[in-house]
Symmetry: C2
Subunit: 87 residues, 2 copies
């Protein structure tokens, strides 16, 4: 049950981002910081999170259960969208 | 200066994650939550952040400046690694 086992690669990565149109205060703050630091070529910044999951690949209903995990725990479907990348 | 211009796609995405061996308390917490919810097939969870950047592509030294932004603002190079994906 420990994290970070080096010998096993992540088997799925879930990318969670705010839906288009939802204000991203963290992104706005980073954008302002960039401008204050003189990086004026950056037009906008949007932030997101990702989760690298190691999964026991023998499990049944893997796709369905992974989707449940995304919508129940990793993302807030009201304001966020997610994308699953399997490795 | 506004975020989230629909007509322009992000031109670079920066993925920031904790280096191997650095404890990821958020990942551990999510992993515990998964187990409590009955999703026992998940072996570990590691978390990370990403940043979608719109950049004025005419800027000079784009690669160098983007790398500066990553190491100065978006990531903490002591404990985090980053990867830049250009779109």
């Amino acid at each position: 049950m420990t994290n970070n086992k080096k010998e096993v690669s992540p088997q799925a990565v879930v990318y969670v981002r705010l839906k288009e149109g939802v204000l991203d205060p963290q992104g706005v703050t980073i954008h302002k910081a960039l401008q204050q630091m003189g990086y004026n070529e950056f037009i906008s910044v949007r932030t997101g999170r990702f989760f690298e999951l190691e999964v026991d690949s023998d499990s049944d209903n893997y796709d369905k259960r992974l989707d449940e995990v995304c919508s129940k725990l990793l993302a807030n479907p009201v304001i966020e969208s997610y994308r699953v990348e399997k490795l």
